[in-house]
Point group: C2
């Protein structure tokens, strides 16, 4: 089969690889219907994170179950499934509390890399969710989005305690931030302020439910949010970048007693204790427990209530994966979908 | 009248001062029945915080209303009242959300210093709560505790989402930590692990409801908490110190999806973003909105359901305030009560 390997920063190749086999009785192997390039794949691509030798890439995936181990019960060969980027047993105390990304058995969900024709998924029962039937092709991008970026934006909104009557600010206009806007709308937010300075992303943010756009960043961005909220700040802020600037922007844009949901993978962030203390905000986030939300998100997509697949503005055959990375790195694309 | 002035680190004097007068129509002046020395008073006393010239001290107080401004409606001359260390209007949007310490009109509650015979309190209607009648003298220490340390420990427990069935860890065995234990018990925690290496404080922690004591600190303390919780960590951790070590201890002692309520005033704390991100905990805290809890706490004390006044293990006449500071600084006393 063919699959993506990153050899070094900037060096992504599609190569011949072994088709993965069942290793544990709880494994499944999927024939991948679609995969994609994640914003977090750009960290090693840009050399911000180390590349430890040739690495199979991709952790977002939808596909058809091709093989299952002897102990797999909830999905069967032929099912179309959506999985999470972390595998979880979905039975431990942490999973039952809704934190499957911190499962006591947590391990990578796409164990052999999802940017590939086939992928092995461990703990299949606790990680995969089958769709109600074989999806129409036009639903596939949205189902793929549920695997990570939608689930992550959704968790950001849930962590920020978005709800009816609230004003929500969204820091970050990548796929996760844009889908944070969509989640905030679905969760009933009254006002959704997207922070973006790119016309195309602003347009998509508005389509997903943003009521206001703030182009300013940093202290000026915070000042604009305060202006829009009677001087108080947002009730809920979704942070979807992961830098020091974006985290401080999120904390400062939020009123005392409000909630910051942060889902941008933190890089070189140090939060000043005194400022955080006197801010009075709630802070929650981390790697999104996508599995918690999958049944609900799949249904919303299946019923065509939401169309998160719109974040894919570039679709390429798997063989052209390197162009997908380049396009996202150069910000020519929000998110690239790869079809094996 | 007599009142406490801090002139420099370590230099606390009781001096003749002007009796405060009503300045704003929303002010009240109280005849102080009891005041005390706060752990946070030790920061300037120890030179960790600057002392900006001679400073009137004390922000915890109970007393009898002596004068009120023309616009004061909810308390009247002769009422026995408990106040918060921050004055709040209790009507703005932030107050109505329960965050009175971040009131848009926030200012010091004991404007002229509470370690004194009289004190002026601004925004009296939004800051003071009258007791159901004149209290028996033995209730005064507990009512005084409600003014700050109990309210703060209580907020720590609320911020940590303490509740039935949960295991709670408490970092810090000062008055706030000990009253965090009491709060956790009142809020229905199943198991309460107090972290303390002082026999007298351990005894009080047990009296307030601690079910386990952990003497180890830092990584060893975290390892003990994990041992006691099936490897997962506490559901809820109350942080009542405010140092880098105590904050990291609290975060690391808490399971993913659990809650850290931090009420120790942060000093030189920088939270590493990556570790926080992957911890999956909720973080909330800051200066406690004591006013939110005062009606409930006063009633619990009035009905003799709780006895938080036990944290005062030293009672001195106001004239001997300097000895109260010394005793707390040298850890000879948990908390010193001063009677004018």
């Amino acid at each position: 089969m063919r699959g993506v390997i990153m050899h070094a920063p900037g060096d992504v190749r599609v190569e011949d690889r072994e088709v993965p086999a069942i290793l544990e009785p709880t494994d499944a192997v999927l024939k991948v219907a679609a995969a994609c390039v994640c914003g977090s794949d750009l960290w090693p691509y840009r050399g911000v994170e180390d590349v430890d030798g040739p690495s199979p890439m991709g952790h977002e995936y939808v596909g058809v179950v091709d093989q299952v181990g002897d102990e797999v019960r909830t999905v069967k060969v032929g099912d179309f499934v959506v999985g999470s980027f972390f595998a979880s047993d979905n039975t431990c105390e942490i999973c039952r509390a809704g934190y499957q990304t911190h499962c006591v058995q947590r391990q990578p969900g796409a164990a052999t890399g999802a940017q590939s024709e086939y992928v092995r998924v461990p703990l299949a029962d606790g990680t995969l969710v089958a769709t109600p039937g074989q999806p129409d092709p036009e639903l596939i991008p949205s189902l793929l989005a549920a695997s990570d970026v939608l689930g992550t934006g959704w968790f950001g909104a849930v962590a920020a305690e978005v709800g009816p009557g609230k004003t929500v600010a969204v820091v970050g206009d990548g796929a996760v931030g844009l889908l944070g806007v969509l989640a905030a709308r679905q969760l009933g937010a009254e006002r959704i302020i997207a922070m973006s300075r790119h016309a195309d992303r602003q347009a998509l943010a508005r389509e997903f439910g943003a009521t206001d756009i703030v182009e300013e960043r940093g202290d000026e961005g915070v000042a604009r949010i305060k202006e829009l909220t009677g001087g108080l700040g947002a009730h809920s802020t979704i942070e979807a970048v992961g830098t020091q600037e974006s985290m401080m922007q999120a904390i400062r844009a939020t009123r005392a007693g409000g909630h910051v949901g942060y889902v941008g993978v933190a890089h070189d962030v140090a939060l000043p204790g005194e400022e955080l203390f006197f801010s009075g905000v709630h802070l929650h986030g981390g790697p999104a427990p996508v599995r918690r939300f999958l049944p609900e998100l799949i249904q919303l997509i299946w019923d065509r209530h939401i169309d998160p697949g719109k974040v894919f503005d570039l679709t390429l055959p798997l063989e052209q994966a390197a162009e997908g990375y380049r396009a996202m790195d150069e910000r020519r694309a929000v998110k690239a979908l790869l079809t094996p």
